[in-house]
């Protein structure tokens, strides 16, 4: 069977193409930008061009369909988890119930769409809604048939019962018409009276047909016996009871018997006086021409197929279906009319050609929601592996990826896509990585949500990148504390160094630290970068000094220089910080420590290649004066320390 071929759809961009020859474009996350341009190097220019935002589809923006996406996400996740905790046998009832859940979500969505379509005034909206309803309707029709044929896989006997249910569900207008007829003043004279009776018969709703027929019987006293006879025939019509003890052979015997009885009635012209009843009798006998006279009541070839099976082959086996399906379609459709995609899809289903169904659906429907979920379910039922070997689960992954990619490009539905990507073993992870890092991070809260998804999946590079972006943004907003927190989370040593330097710079200019709550609580995070360690330790020095713990403060200060934690450019500041300690009444620095301080000072001053550490506001004079002061204080302290140490030892 050849592929359903669909031409690519063309989207027209209003007001474009008049002045310039070419269309430029740019991919966006959920859309594509297009603009008029001329790529030829010598192309003539013109002003006032526009940029047009072209979105890929409309349905994803429909609030009602969003419910479908969210609810089915729930079912999808449930289905993926089933496999693990239930033994592989006995799963059929679960799969059938999941299939029913999906369908009930489609139904609910459809009903809501119908509801709003009725209450909307806007014609284009009504159109949109009703289109969506038709899509869902067809979707459900196909899904339901697949459920009957593939997932439930009913055997002969039950098969027809399921197919009848299928047809009844999708041709429900009989009920409305029946209601209208029965509630009218004179049902028997209603124009649609016989249509209702025949529709009921065609759907195998015998009891309802009998009920409607009694109306006629009660007014036409003359032909009461005739109606009595029909009623008996209908009443006796055997129906297979799957839960009963009756075997299929017994049922078949009974059915043949009944069939012969109907045939007798027709042969002896019992109903000749009433053409309607005669038609019904013919239908009961499976007369195809009689059925085809009521094409408009059948509506579709597949209704015809089911009615035909009901009255000619009630014990049809799954394997025989394709023959009846093809011939029903040929009989029902005019020879000149070409089968529509939906016809081909249903026919493929009756032929049990699953791949053709999915392929045609994905081409004709362009409906990733449907094919992705259906294929996934069929794959879980192990229906895809059994035949076609080359792309069984690839097909599932391909479709699920397509669906999830659509979701992830939506500004709000992107979260739903994550679980779908998770269940695509081959490319799911790469797709998720590529898409997640593109999710805009409008607030920290959203960033945290994206980060959580990445962290749970150990996407270290994405985690780092997101934190880095947030840190960079905080820095540009002058929020040093936040920037530092983010770079600590990103474990980005380089950036942490940079921010630490900003803190130190601010300290040098202002003489006090900002963001103490953060710096005082760095904890082990301090070790991320040398500069950050220095910042933390230097702040600790100030705290100790503030708490009058001079000895500890002095020791820490010195170690910052001797252990080379402090950057050289900062030594002068540190030495200046030592000044008040040197000038305390009691000796803080020991003789050894003072020597080391002096050594540091000499190292600093002898090294002329270092740029001047102090801000330029302080002049050269101040600088020299400070040096002198330091030397003096150090010398004095050394003297005092030697004296003191000598005294203690003595």
């Amino acid at each position: 069977m050849e592929e359903v071929d669909v031409e690519p759809t063309t989207t027209l961009i209003p007001g474009v193409g008049l002045k310039q020859k070419h269309l430029g474009f740019e991919w966006g996350p959920g859309d594509i930008l297009v603009y008029e341009t001329n790529f030829r190097p010598a192309g003539a220019g013109s002003g006032c061009p526009s940029v047009h935002v072209v979105r890929k589809d409309e349905d994803i923006y429909s609030p009602i369909l969003r419910k479908l996406f969210n609810e089915s996400h729930h079912i999808f996740v449930g289905l993926q988890n089933i496999t693990e905790d239930v033994p592989s046998k006995n799963k059929k009832p679960q799969f059938v119930s999941i299939s029913k859940n999906y369908r009930s979500v489609i139904r609910a969505c459809m009903e809501e769409l119908q509801h709003v379509a009725v209450s909307t005034q806007d014609v284009t909206l009504v159109c949109q809604y009703s289109n969506q309803v038709s899509i869902l309707l067809a979707t459900e029709l196909i899904w339901n048939l697949c459920e009957v044929l593939f997932i439930d896989a009913a055997p002969a006997g039950c098969l027809l019962l399921h197919l009848l249910d299928w047809v009844r569900l999708h041709k429900a207008d009989v009920d409305e018409k029946a209601k209208e007829v029965l509630q009218s003043d004179s049902p028997t004279n209603h124009l649609a009276y016989w249509d209702v009776v025949i529709s009921f018969i065609l759907q195998g709703r015998v009891d309802e047909a009998r009920h409607v027929l009694t109306k006629q019987a009660s007014v036409q006293a003359a032909s009461r016996t005739l109606y009595q006879l029909m009623d008996t025939l209908l009443h006796k019509m055997p129906v297979f009871n799957p839960s009963g003890t009756q075997t299929l052979t017994e049922f078949d015997m009974k059915w043949r018997h009944w069939h012969e009885e109907c045939d007798r009635c027709l042969q002896d012209k019992s109903f000749a006086s009433n053409p309607h009843l005669e038609t019904i009798c013919k239908i009961l006998l499976g007369d195809e021409d009689a059925m085809l006279e009521h094409k408009e009541l059948l509506g579709t070839w597949y209704h015809f197929l089911v009615s035909r099976l009901l009255f000619s082959h009630p014990t049809v086996k799954p394997a025989e279906l394709h023959y009846y399906a093809k011939s029903s379609m040929d009989m029902f459709l005019d020879s000149r009319s070409v089968p529509e995609p939906l016809d081909s899809i249903l026919l493929a289903a009756f032929e049990f050609d699953l791949h053709q169904v999915i392929k045609d659906c994905s081409i004709a429907l362009n409906n990733w929601w449907f094919v992705a979920h259906l294929t996934d379910l069929l794959d879980h039922c192990k229906l895809l592996q059994s035949h076609n070997l080359h792309f069984g689960s690839n097909l599932r992954e391909f479709l699920v990826l397509e669906y999830a990619s659509g979701l992830v490009s939506h500004h709000s539905l992107w979260q739903l896509a994550v679980d779908y990507f998770d269940h695509c073993p081959e490319f799911g992870r790469v797709y998720l990585e590529l898409q997640l890092e593109r999710v805009p991070l409008e607030t920290e809260r959203k960033a945290l949500k994206v980060l959580r998804i990445c962290e749970q999946r150990h996407m270290t590079e994405q985690v780092r990148s997101i934190c880095k972006i947030m840190a960079k943004r905080a820095l540009s907003n002058n929020r040093l504390g936040s920037a530092l927190s983010w770079s600590i989370r990103a474990k980005d040593a380089g950036f942490a160094t940079l921010i630490s330097e900003r803190f130190l710079q601010d300290y040098c200019t202002r003489g006090s630290f900002s963001d103490l709550d953060l710096i005082d609580n760095l904890g082990p995070a301090m070790l991320l970068s040398d500069r950050l360690t220095f910042l933390g330790k230097y702040r600790e020095f100030h705290r100790l000094y503030g708490e009058n713990k001079f000895t500890e403060a002095g020791k820490l200060l010195l170690s910052l220089m001797t252990a080379k934690i402090a950057p050289r450019s900062f030594w002068m500041t540190l030495l200046t910080d030592a000044l008040p300690l040197l000038e305390q009444k009691e000796v803080i620095f020991s003789a050894d420590q003072t020597h080391e301080l002096m050594f540091c000072l000499e190292e600093l001053t002898s090294d002329n290649t270092e740029p001047k550490p102090e801000p330029p506001a302080l002049g050269e004079d101040v600088e020299t004066a400070k040096l002198e002061l330091l030397r003096l204080a150090l010398a004095r302290n050394l003297a005092m320390a030697i004296v003191k140490e000598g005294t203690v030892e003595a």
């Binding site: 009602i64 969003r66 419910k67 969210n70 936040s482 927190s485 900002s514 709550d517 953060l518 904890g523």
Partner: protein, 371 residues
Amino acid sequence: MDCINAKYVSQKISKTRWRPVSASSLQQPELLATGSWDNEDNKVSIWSVGENGGSNMEDEFEEIPVTVASVFFFGFFFNLFQFLDQDRLVTASSSGAVTIYNLKSESQTLSVLHTWEGAHHYQCARAPCTAVVCSSPELVSVGEDGRVVLYKADQSRIVRTIENADSSTIHAVTFLRTAEVLTVNSIGQLKLWDLRQGNEPAQILTLTGDRVPLHCVDKHPNQQHIVATGGQDGMLCIWDVRQGSVPFSLMEAHSAEMWEVHFHPSNPDHLFTCSEDGSLLHWETSSGSDTPSFLQGRNSSMMSRSATAPAGGNQSLISAWLSGDSSKGRLETTHMLPSQTLSVNSLDVLGQCLVCGTDGEAVYIHRRVLV
């Protein structure tokens, strides 16, 4: 589980709140407000919830038709709000604006009373507001800019701003008593502010050296010194702000960020938490004595309990609240949602009614919470 109702609302929910009922009446709340996020048109919606107090499990809740729709729409990325009182609602947006609305339930309209534009801002740009709390007539908002801003509902001028209240993002705020608020930040600190005093916090409490961000805070309704917080690691902490600067007890609650924690307003032995991991937990301490069970232990203890209990699990996990000197205290946790999927961003509980909203675009209502 059977008395929980779910409704898909086609928007991710950032906040859910019951409209307060008058303290004297024992009636159940009837009106519910939800805020959306991550949409192109974010809004606050008001819903009416079935009349007959949960007697009928089939209760549907319906959105009130909006007569003045435009005022519901914010156009901002993330919406938060609180009820100031029965008739007034305060919103705080990711563009840094704080707005008071008047809710007229008879006419089903929401009208702007006052807006403080750009209450939260950086040097040159607007900063997202992260939380707002009300203690009529005062309200306080906090934001990513590290500011604490105090307003009075009837004054158009901002009463007070504490600049640089935090070097990191402040995630949540609660009133402890008049003029005293408690903020939690992204480096695991609680800061107690006396709004009558200077620009320095009166007290700083720190989780540990781990700097795990805290996302939510709630105070015990009767004993203001008892405070519950929830963190990025899903841990629930109980603090006694009078005692020391470390938490009183720590409990593993969720496997991801805890977004909200609420003491039950009239029965504070019950506590509710919700999380990014998609779960909603009901915590119940049953104490043998009259003293509130939160005060019974003195030792910090870790209770191991997996928040990723099987979906649909009705089972309760029973464990002693604290294992120390109090053997009477017991703590019971129950999963409130039938299954876990996407983040539960917000919850509110009033009387027997509980509501929560998720990133799965569902609002769940429970009308018979056993408290």
